[in-house]
Symmetry: C2
Subunit: 353 residues, 2 copies
């Protein structure tokens, strides 16, 4: 996909400070501004720029309007050693999920694994950004998320939408770079669809249905039409099975979802961390994953113009490059933030280079 | 897919007894013959007939040749309350996984969740068949499996095979029928490919690569070529991410996989059971899943000739029909079993109707 217009480059830290200052000025308390800011800039650096700073203007809107709770803690509904449930009380989802990954990582190191279901989280942005918090400690993490107020994805063979893109992410340590899996269980996301629609472009395949259920590559069928599940017209029962899995883990275990009449933006989240050390051992785990990573890296490309990439390799390379050389956010995103900076009297960062 | 030639109908119990007698005569001890037989016939009844009785002749071969261990118990390598590892010692995989689902279900009811990784299991056949053991108790189950000796599936954009079809199954209770998700993370399986090849048929889409990495709908490209991951040429990075997840959960956590030089048939398994009662409650869980099931059932079909089906609905209907009316196995499967029955001096069942 075209990354959109980009002109000015900024240091990673400068962008994170800017985002953090905006969130502080809007009213987020404690470590919430710094955590949310760091993870949004991480998402941009990883190339997931529909789920990075582009979300910040909406977050600021929601803080000001009271739709995102700015202060306090989640309510702990269940606190077992390996099984927890939190009510997120519409607190910032990025902060909640980062906190859940950290707690689950700590608990997994005592019990082997720990799962945390969160209800009523605000939006959680880019799932891949959280995975490093686990993989850097040698842990495997699984994160899934659904928003019960959203229906954009048709079930296989269905004519209209039922599910949301229901993303799932998995972090897998190796001896070298971790494997970072992060994908929606629909072929494409609502964010990407909106962007293509704005830019007058098409999907690269029949990724959607129009309002009459006819397959289409036209992003303007949304809203009104439906996105197709992973596997598309050909084998979309697999994507529908994944959507079911995500919705059960997130809404079923948190006890909050589509069956409830009132929803805000955000939704239900499932976080699970496993510690290989308490199964057969970290050395044994990475002996296998490293072998597979090396074998994957040695697979020749089908088309020399399309290199074979390990899941997360591009995202990690982007993150490292951004941390050392800075990054160039989209100009439309920076313009939207500049309007907020003026309103909240926050100084905009100085581009470099 | 064409279900193949079928003529004679048998009672479910008669087929299960027949399979059990064959396995007993071949040397399996204790409850192994009855458990393996019941689950293979369940797979046939569910419509997964490449992974039901069709596997039994190979199992009998392997018992006689000593490749499937006929007697004894798995070695317990790790036994934590919520995290276990077993060495399956090439015992019957169907029996091992059924046992693992039962133990994980018991542990999950105390701790909220329990995961068991199994190394060196023999073949585990149809994953969906195990799920009812959890969902009938109101529990959610996740089962994944990989065989480190097999490489049939290319990673996305790759020219040759690295992974196996790496199946994953998820059982989700509702107030009515459970949702039974069961799919390979490649578009199709090795078993289905072999069957289409024997029958001179084609894949319904570009589901494979030939030995030069060219997309193909011809099942004779296997062996030598590669199957494509879920998402295919269009969005196969998602299937590759799933394959990585399955291989890490199964081979990484069990500490046995592709990095090991010697393999038998079968492989590494991951079983996890979650008890919604120890998260926000079973009533809360099924309140959500039942709402989604009802909404899914109400989605109109895109094409009136292809009804919208909930995951597992057809399998469950087939199982119930088979249990009340009997089932008609493929004649090639029954012929292969008849040869074994003669050799092992086991009486063949009487067809009914």
């Amino acid at each position: 996909m075209d990354p959109g217009p980009r002109v000015l480059s900024y240091a990673f830290g400068a962008l994170a400070s800017y985002a953090s200052s905006l969130l502080t000025a809007a009213g987020l308390d404690g470590d919430k501004p710094a955590v949310v800011a760091r993870l949004l800039v991480t998402a941009d650096a990883m190339g997931h720029d529909t789920h990075g700073l582009a979300q910040l203007p909406d977050y600021l809107d929601d803080i000001v309007a009271g739709r995102m709770r700015a202060t306090g803690e989640p309510e702990v509904l269940v606190d077992r050693p390996s099984a927890c449930v939190w009510d997120g009380r519409t607190l910032p989802g990025v902060w909640l999920v980062d906190r859940a990954v950290r707690l689950a990582a700590t608990r997994a190191q005592t019990h082997g694994l720990c799962a945390i279901a969160i209800r009523r989280s605000h939006h959680i942005a880019c799932l891949a950004a959280y995975l490093l918090g686990a993989t850097e400690q040698g842990l495997m993490a699984i994160i899934a998320c659904s928003d019960p107020s959203e229906a954009q994805v048709a079930p296989h063979d269905g004519k209209h939408a039922l599910f949301m893109p229901d993303p799932i992410a998995v972090g897998i340590p190796t001896k070298k770079n971790p494997i970072l899996v992060d994908f929606s269980t629909s072929i494409t996301t609502a964010g990407m669809t909106a962007r293509l629609r704005r830019e007058g472009r098409r999907f690269p395949g029949l990724w959607a249905l129009d309002a009459e259920g006819r397959p289409s590559d036209d992003p303007t069928v949304m809203p009104g039409g439906a996105l197709l599940p992973v596997g598309g017209l050909d084998h979309g029962h697999k994507g529908t099975g994944l959507a079911w899995t995500v919705e059960a883990l997130t809404q079923g275990l948190s006890g909050y979802g589509r069956a409830d009449p009132e929803h805000g933006w955000g939704g239900s989240v499932f976080v699970q961390v496993l510690d290989p050390a308490l199964f057969t051992g970290r050395a044994e785990f990475v002996r296998q994953t490293n072998w597979i990573a090396d074998a994957h890296g040695a697979v020749l490309p089908r088309d020399p113009r399309r290199p074979v990439r390990l899941p997360g390799a591009q995202a990690l390379a982007g993150l490292r490059r951004a941390q050392s050389e800075g990054l160039t956010p989209r100009t439309d995103t920076m313009a939207a933030l500049a309007a907020w900076a003026q309103r909240l009297r926050v100084a905009a960062p100085t581009p470099h280079g």
